[in-house]
Amino acid sequence: MVLIVRDAAAWLRDTLQALSSQSYPRIGIVAIDDASGDGSHELLVQALGAGRVVRNEETVGPARSIDQALQLPVAAGADFLLLLRDDVALDPEAVERLVDATRLPGVERVGLVGAKIVDWDHPRRLRDVGRSADRFGHPYTPLQVGEIDQGQFDRVLDVLTVDTAAALVARDVWQQLGLLDDRLGDDDADVDLGWRARVAGWRVLMTPLARARRRATPDLPPPTDRSRRYEEDRAALASVLKNYSWVSLLWILPLDAALSLVRLLFLLLSRRFEEAYDLVSAIGWNVVHLPRTLRLRRRVQRSRRVKDHALRRFHESAGLRIPRWFQTAERILEEQRDLEVDEASASARLRHRTASLLSAHPVLVASFLGAVVGLLATRHLIAPDPLLGGALPAFPSHPSGFSAELVSAYRTTALGGSLAASPALGALGGLSWLTLGSTVLAQKVVLAGALVVAAVLAYRALVRLTGRPGASVGAAAAYVASAVLLWAFSQGRIGLLAVLVVLPPIVERLEAAFGEEEPADGRWRFVAGLAVTIAVGVAFEPGVLLALGLLLIVEVLAGTSRVRGVVLTLASVAGAAILLFSFLPTIATGDGAALRSEIGTTDPWLLVRLALGPAPGGWWAALFLPVAALLGLALASSAHRRLALRATMAAVAGLAMSWLSVAGYLPGPFANAPVYAAVTAIAEAILVGVGIASVATGLEREAFGFRQIGTAALTLVLGAGLVLQSAAAVTGRWGVGGADQIPAAWALVDSTQEGSFRVLWLGADDGEPFPAPGGDPQGVAEAGGATTTFGITNRDGAPALDLGRPLVGGGRDALETALVELLAGTTTHVGALLAPFGVRYVVAWIDQLPAPARAALDRQADLDHVPAAELVIFRNAVLLSPAAVVEADGPTGRIVASGDPAVIQRFRPVPQVPLETVEGGWSGATGGGNLALVSTEFDGAWELEGSDAAPQRAFGWATDVDVAGSTTARVLYGAQLPRTIESWLLLVLWAAALWFTRKPVRR
């Protein structure tokens, strides 16, 4: 017997006394004192004699201590080795029963036998009855916390491993496999040892006849400053690497990597950077220690007698981790746990009476149901192909595309210019790298993740506002099932989804800022947190500022601590501005065009149910949310009265502003119907939460009346609404999906031979997006009944690189002018007017284009109609590549130098050689041409490499450079450095802000 002792003087006497009373006669004891400093050594010497006590001068841990003991002759010659910790007291017959278990009839090759471990002070509480692990090496115990011993495990169990705090090990096992891996923690090393024994064909048993009491928690400092999860993760991966065959590793490792990646994303998105760091560290530890792991692996695999599949019965299924994830999510939603304590007494009777799982674990149940509905609803989206359709922007083919655009001093999309890209590209790029460099996967993670995060953040906000987890779950579910959120998902509106994600915390933070009490986390942390939240929202959709403004007005009108609230809010906005300093000009340029959206519906009845466009869940059943909100308002208790009134104000104002936006009654930068609709959605969800929270307790003590009827109605409306919306989501057809979500006629454009060109998208000014992949309108060309919306993209459609970045500047103004010329009907040469923009095709829905606009297009002499179903497509006969060297004679040169449409319309096709896109600009052969024409906004920083030729303004807005006499032309942007410095500064600011507002990790 090897007894491992460290600083155990307080209970060591009991342990030794239990040893001395063992019924088994032939026990040789060796004690290893692992550098105890509390008198344990003296006790051991006194009880066992100095010859049987080995003292370590410094602590080496149980594994090495056991190895030291095995060097002693008395241990090396033993048939069995009984491992025992100082905090374990064996029952008198324990050793005998352990030995008996090795000789059970019909049971051969018993390598490891463990005792039934019970609590030291409360022996009826089970501590260990043998353990297993999931497929990825994470330990699993069948015991619930504090589970009472009622004989339910009183049989000899064949298990994967046992607790080596009191376990018998056969000599052949340790000689063949070694004992505990000294790199791993106690519990994790146990799993590893048992697993190795099993691989080598040894049986691992737990015998309940051998009972041992173990102290609850050793009063020792933690061995490391790492979290338990870190220890578990690194041990699990090490065990996997050692104990699986190569064939099994071929599928286990990729799957494990994918799951780890999902977890890492979750941790990062929830700003649990230290936990994310622990996860990465655990993987990194295994990389660093891979050589030794492989050496140990060779030893295990050399002794292999059992194939992996034969051990499956000792592994829990992979699904085991799903509840663990939910448990983790529930831990992260720590408010519930705290609040459940308060709610426990109030709702105890209900819970006990109904034993309702829903009331006991609303988050778990809602998460499970949400996951099921979500998986069913998005089953069609699970494919290796990229998502297409709706208004989903096209992701670059490589993650570096995001960072390149973010850092680029000039805009590579639309019509160029120097407007900085949104910092959101940094997040998307980082996510794309995390998803193994796949932007396709990142695209799906963003979409699906937005729903999950919106639900989680809505729940967190609501539980803080209402104080009721159950009510908050219902309200958050209603929020996620709202028509506007389902529409945003269906359309792939990443910007709006971001708004829907950040609005709940913004609303909750504003409530806290304007509340009676100071923010619980202190003003600085509050400001930083809200600043980060606002900055994230604005980075994806600048229009979130409009929502913030609307909510701020409501709080100023009806909040409590107005001065404090305004100060904190403005400070947060200022903080967000710092985090977005490079993006601010982008937001402000063009009279705040970035805030504006042309999307929405002017049908007020559709708007009431927040159905801004066709999507699953936009049907009549979507009325459940406003109806439930009204019922919630009617049921609001006095405790929630002011919150309910503010939410009502926000909801009604959001509806009004949304309609006014689309109907054209709001000034440009204030018109953003989707954002206002999102405000209404969260406000209505708050009303739902308030209503449920108000009737959650005490209803049974009131006389029957409106509150009972209202509660029933609210329950019915909410329940039916959620069920119907879920059904719609499951059975409906999302706007995003596979290639079939793109109009078939788009192939006529897409199949055009290789080369760069742009597409001009036109549509009615009715709030509808363009056909995919055109995205959303970027402007409106007003021309009476021929008024159309317009947008311009490259051949891939609307790019994700333009998230939050509007089409503004000289190019945009020139484009609008050209379109007005078209729609006014006075020119028949709009093809020439569009040539400077590199427009090769004009595309619109066939049934959406206003008739006067269609007639104007038909009149154009230099636009050729391309017959197509669904779409109106015109091909521009006056082709000019977005970047090319042209042969410009005198008249052509005069046209290029002019900004007057009356002159530009005379532009005729000229010989041209397209230039290729290179880092920092364009490059290619001149082909005898004399003028490099680049369809990007004029900027004096453009330069011709190796030449002093200054750039000139072409067509009034674009750029040209004289390349006469050159055989090659390399047009590069010469002012990159400031943007590079900005980008690094931005990175530092975000890192600091996220670190400052990180969530504390639980050790």
């Binding site: 308002l633 609001a636 309609w659 109907a663 028949t828």
Partner: protein
């Protein structure tokens, strides 16, 4: 009992519903209108031609600013290099353009204002003749014609021009009274390259018909169409195609022998009854309407006796639509024809209809409306000098011709016709030969958009 916010909820619901109703009634804001500054347009002139033929293009500018034009000749070969032409305000430019093949055509692009355009083609001996028509303002994917003849000694072409860069693919169906619609393989899925113009012989495909109509449907692209007819007895006739049928047509004639034929086409599936009302300058009161029955999917020739300037208004019964043109016999061997119009307008430019002198040019104006009007006529002279003006009083429903002296000094001038009510203007002339009577040309004018005169 706890006090709730029931009344507030009811109030909120009422506000939302009332707001929705109000929004529904109010509707979206009306977008502003915008005026363009880049004036431009096109004329498509599928005039055709033949060996030793000559063709002239008239470009006339009734506006106040100089208009730049880009003239390109099209045929079954590569288009010519564009010829840049400036047309001064109030002036006319006459260009000779290639017309050596029946498929020849001319494309005109103009910038900076508006100009009118028309053509005259002239065949030499031994079958002298002249055809004149206004150019077409827009290409289309559908065209109808009705003036072809395929009787012995007659050659008839459909001139189809594709002024655009991309190819056109179209089908042509021929209609005649005594035969079902003719769909020939060589007239089906015809591919015409961009910037090309070709002519299709009609007479070998439908023999012995006095009136042959055609319908062209382009599946891809847009084209412009006119007829060209050359006969031993009737000289040369040109009529432009019409992109759409209409229920009412106004056709004019003058200076002929007094024998005209209203030629109509009904490509539809139901028979049609239409009435034609003839008015002359001498007899402004209409006679009894002549009712005619036009058989479906066929053409019809309805003789009309005219006397001097004459207008024929053909109206379909019900909602039916058809096409009508007027063919007039000349006083010698050259006939003339012109497509009418279904859209009277307050301003017209009448292109010249002659190429040689001596000549007797006429401008005829019909007032098909219900109100009397005074019409102003102004010469758009080739030399750019200020042209003479005159006025005509035209009673409602009547027709009148400008005095012979009006065009005497500048017979090849175009004429700007303006009125305060919608009217229809026609150019008619006899020219050539010793007495100026050998060649006979008719051409309806081109309507002038309102903005063209304002600028």
């Amino acid at each position: 009992m706890k006090r709730g916010l029931g009344p507030v909820a009811i109030l909120a619901a009422a506000v939302v519903i009332a707001g929705a109703i109000a929004a529904n009634d109010l509707g979206p804001a009306v977008p502003a209108t915008s005026a363009g500054s880049a004036r431009s347009g096109d004329w498509m002139c599928p005039h055709g031609g033949g060996e030793d033929w000559t063709a002239y293009l008239s470009l006339s500018n009734p506006g106040a600013t100089t208009v730049e034009a880009r003239v390109t000749s099209l045929g079954d070969r590569r288009p010519s290099e564009p010829q840049d032409v400036s047309v001064s305000p109030g002036a006319e430019v006459v260009l000779e353009v290639p017309a050596t093949e029946p498929g020849d055509a001319t494309s005109v692009e103009y910038f900076g204002g508006w100009i009118g355009a028309g053509w005259v083609v002239k065949a030499p001996d031994p079958v002298p003749g002249l055809g004149a028509e206004p150019c077409l303002a827009a290409s289309s994917d559908t065209w109808y014609t009705t003036d072809s003849s395929t009787q012995r000694g007659t050659k008839a072409w459909l001139v189809v021009m594709n002024p655009h860069a991309s190819l056109a693919v179209f089908n042509i169906v021929l209609f005649a009274p005594s035969t079902p619609p003719v769909r020939r393989r060589e007239l089906t899925d015809v591919v015409l390259k961009g910037r090309r113009s070709v002519a299709f012989r009609v007479d070998p495909k439908v023999l012995g018909e006095d009136v042959v109509g055609a319908q062209l449907d382009a599946k891809v692209g847009r084209v412009a169409v006119a007829t060209l007819t050359l006969s031993e007895e009737g000289g040369v006739r040109s009529t432009v195609g019409m992109p759409a049928l209409a229920g009412s047509w106004v056709d004019l004639t003058a200076a002929g022998s007094g024998q005209s034929t209203l030629v109509t086409l009904l490509p539809g599936d139901e028979d049609l009854t239409f009435t034609s009302i003839v008015r002359t300058a001498d007899q402004p009161e209409p006679g009894d309407p002549a009712a005619s029955t036009q058989l479906r999917r066929s053409t019809l020739a309805s003789p009309v006796t005219t006397n001097g300037p004459t207008t024929v208004v053909a109206n379909a019964e019900g909602d039916s639509t058809f096409l009508a043109a007027l063919r007039s016999e000349g006083r010698t061997g050259d006939d003339a024809a012109t497509a009418g119009t279904s859209a009277p307008a307050p301003a017209w430019v009448v292109p010249p209809t002659l190429t040689t002198l001596p000549a007797t040019p006429l401008v005829v104006v019909a007032n098909p409306g219900a109100a009397d009007t005074v019409v102003d006529l102004t010469l758009l002279r080739i030399d750019g000098t200020t042209g003479a003006s005159t006025s005509l009083e035209i009673p409602a429903g009547s027709v009148a011709a400008a005095p012979a002296s009006f065009l005497e000094d500048a017979p090849r001038s175009a004429v700007l016709v303006t009125a305060d009510v919608p009217v229809v203007a026609l150019g008619a002339s006899t020219s050539g030969g010793k007495d100026g009577m050998d060649l006979y040309g008719l051409a309806t004018g081109v309507a002038v958009p309102g903005w063209a005169l304002a600028g």
